[in-house]
């Protein structure tokens, strides 16, 4: 070999639960039944809460809605691995993960209806508001991870994004800074194989997203994103490394978006029904159900009870959501600066006068 190899590394993939719900005994993380059920409940809650969002939108009671269906294992697996002191910088499709770590559903519904108050989260939840400009929030995860590291906190930050988000320059800069400063950051990519109409193989020529970690000298791993156990194990490992000052990790969850990009989209324009059907067979919830049923801790009856209970919870949240008073017009101005400058004061006055007149 005349050319000398100077870099040699591999990218690995982790799968624990197969498509039929069979577990790899060697890799079994040995979660307690309680943990397993919590994981499952979280996934089902995501599905039903999300479906309600779609229904509300269809009924004209909601703005746009970007469904996460198909990605429940990814979001629930990460949620289970996170600890209360950890931070989250979500993109626009992480409402499942956000809800799982403590953001009330009604807030998320409100956000998507176009109510700024939807971004009010409970004080104990360290979560930035959803970021709409794709990929730009990764840098906040780098900065927060650097802050945590500087203060020596045993905490990590999870920076979320999709396959499309990895094409933005900010993803690159965030990964590179995180590598150089060894920040307490986990880059969590849900590769659902589509960025609106662009399939993954036109998004990048690299075979995986996980291998992009080689460009930054940090660990990267691909997991089966429809396998909640695999996601949990990889997330726990990466979070633990980050919390203990071991630096950043890139996690790629290979999963699939089962629905339209958002309610403004029509996915039949660009992808085949066959492809969707193929992935429907790999539904992350079905898989977990099969596993739990196989382990004897779950059955159809319990499932029915769970769904009833969650639907009640969702309906209760919807009720609160729909009872929210409209935001006052002054909200446009009131949170913009610590001290309101003269021009905003004048304009606020002008608007309130106008509103009073009508």
């Amino acid at each position: 070999m005349p050319r000398r190899t100077i870099y040699h590394a591999v990218t690995e993939r982790l799968e624990i639960l197969d498509e039929h719900g069979n577990i790899d005994p060697e890799l079994d993380p040995h979660l307690t039944a309680e943990q397993l059920l919590a994981l499952y409940r979280t996934m089902v809650r995501m599905r039903l809460f999300d479906q309600k969002g779609l229904n509300l939108q269809r009924q004209g009671r909601m703005g746009t809605w970007g469904s996460l269906q198909g990605q429940e294992a990814s979001q629930a697996g990460m949620a289970l691995a996170m600890e209360p002191q950890d931070w989250l910088t979500p993109s626009f499709r992480e409402h499942g993960l956000m809800e799982a770590i403590g953001v009330p559903m009604r807030q998320i519904y409100a956000f998507w209806r176009g109510d700024g108050r939807g971004a009010i989260y409970p004080p104990h939840v360290n979560c930035l508001p959803q970021a709409v400009p794709v990929g730009t929030q990764f840098l906040h995860a780098t900065g927060i991870g650097l802050a945590l590291k500087k203060r020596g906190e045993r905490a990590a930050v999870v920076g979320c994004g999709g396959d499309g988000a990895t094409s933005e320059g900010d993803f690159h800069e965030a990964m590179n800074f995180a590598g150089v400063f060894q920040t307490n950051t986990v880059f969590f990519i849900q590769n659902n194989q589509w960025a609106i109409s662009l399939p993954f193989n036109r998004q990048t020529a690299s075979e995986t997203i996980a291998q992009k970690a080689h460009a930054y000298g940090i660990p990267g791993i691909q997991v089966d994103g429809n396998d909640a156990l695999a996601v949990y194990v990889a997330s726990r490992e990466a979070l633990e490394r980050a919390r203990s000052g071991g630096g950043p990790t890139l996690i790629e969850c290979l999963t699939y978006r089962l629905r339209d990009h958002t309610t403004a989209d029509d996915h039949t324009r660009y992808r085949s029904a066959d492809e969707v059907a193929e992935w429907q067979k790999r539904d992350p919830i079905d898989r977990m159900f099969a596993f739990l049923a196989g382990s004897g801790v779950w059955n159809d009856e319990r499932e029915a009870a769970l769904r009833t209970a969650i639907n009640q919870e969702v309906e209760a949240e919807v009720e609160k959501f729909e009872q929210m008073s409209p935001p006052p017009p002054s909200d446009i101005f009131d949170y913009f600066y610590e001290v309101m400058p003269w021009n905003l004061k004048e304009q606020r006055e002008q608007l309130l006068t106008e509103v009073a007149r009508c």
Partner: protein, 346 residues
């Protein structure tokens, strides 16, 4: 409220000289049609951007182009605005005429370095050897109740940057003719499409290709008491305000700027010299917005004719608010009427 009634009547003063066969179309259809015709005329015209191919664009502005011209000329790109713009610059330098789409103007900041530092400057930097005949087109403005970053109007930044033409049509007819001009222009053009009125109304548009020169405003209504100056989606509340004050006997002249850079200073000053009063309307935040530039030009050139301060009606000096509050933010007829009253009662 999102107003979707069509503007009644054709307010254009000058009809196209010879009107060939026409067909009724919306503004977004006119955009698509211009792209189609220019691609047909000139094989170097390419379209690129996110979801512009099979999907036909998130607003369907490129619908049918992929089927007509194929993946070599209608290019779905990875998700990166600087990448789209910089790649378009390379294509333009090497002989193509790329028309790059940014999905929403709220994401254009990511493309600014390429557009401002390179597209706008390469001709000068190379002393005329290389030029960048590209169009950067995108929907802008509010009114459709989307999430954050989907309603922005950043035109002032482009006007402040030398080397770029800034075009904002307000009608299907203008959209088609000006996009054709923009594509044929040998310098970079920012082409902003008022998404709020993409489908708000239809008008008769010639089916054959035609161009409308860049840099020429349109006096869409002749009047004598006050000049209303606007562009894009704000033409609608502006015209509604002109109607409203007409009922009180106020004769408003209405100027649709259409091109912001270079702005048609002659039409502007001629009108205000005649009426002595001016109101400029845009939806971008008032402070630092294009209204300041218009005011300054009028101040410099026709101060002696001004009988009242130029009134600026703009958005508020905050980020475009979430959907539930956007009606409070966007300038509407009543605000324009109030500004007209202020200038008349000065």
């Amino acid at each position: 409220m999102l107003r979707t009634e069509p503007i009644t009547g054709n307010d254009r003063r000058v009809a196209p000289a010879e009107v060939p066969k026409t067909t009724r179309m919306t503004l977004v259809q006119a955009v698509t049609r211009a792209l189609y015709e220019e691609m047909e005329r000139d094989p170097t015209v390419l379209v690129l951007g996110q979801d512009v191919g099979k999907d036909g664009g998130v607003f369907r502005a490129t619908e049918g182009l992929y089927e007509a011209f194929g993946a070599e000329r209608v290019i779905d790109t990875p998700l990166a605005e600087s990448g789209i713009t910089g790649t378009a610059i390379g294509l333009a330098v090497a002989g193509f005429r790329p028309v790059a789409e940014i999905q929403f103007m709220g994401f254009v900041y990511l493309a600014l370095n390429q557009f401002f530092c390179h597209a706008a400057r390469l001709r000068n930097r190379s002393r005329g050897r290389y030029n960048v005949p590209m169009v950067l087109r995108m929907p802008y403005g509010g009114g459709i109740r989307p999430p954050e970053h989907h309603s922005e109007s950043y035109e002032a930044l482009f006007v402040a940057t030398p080397g770029i033409k800034v075009v904002i049509p307000s009608t299907p007819y203008d959209a088609k003719g000006m996009l054709a001009s923009a594509i044929r222009d040998n310098d970079p053009v920012l082409f902003l499409e008022p998404k709020r009125i993409y489908r708000a109304f239809r008008e008769e548009v010639p089916v054959e290709p035609y161009t409308i020169p860049l840099g020429k405003a349109n006096v869409v209504r002749v009047g004598k008491d006050v000049t209303l100056i606007s562009y894009g989606a704000m033409m609608r509340p502006t015209l509604e305000a002109a109607d409203a004050v007409a009922r009180d006997g106020v004769s408003a002249e209405v100027v649709d700027l259409r091109t912001l850079a270079p702005v048609d200073v002659e039409t502007l000053t001629a009108s205000v010299a005649k009426t002595g009063r001016a109101v400029v309307v845009h939806e971008a935040p008032k402070t630092g917005g294009f209204g300041g530039e218009v005011t300054a030009l009028l101040n410099e050139r026709v101060l002696m004719h001004l009988e009242a301060p130029v009134q600026r009606v703009g958005g508020f000096d905050v980020a475009f608010p979430p959907a539930l509050l956007e009606d409070y933010y966007l300038p509407h007829r009543a605000r324009v009427v109030e500004a007209i009253r202020r200038t008349l009662s000065y």
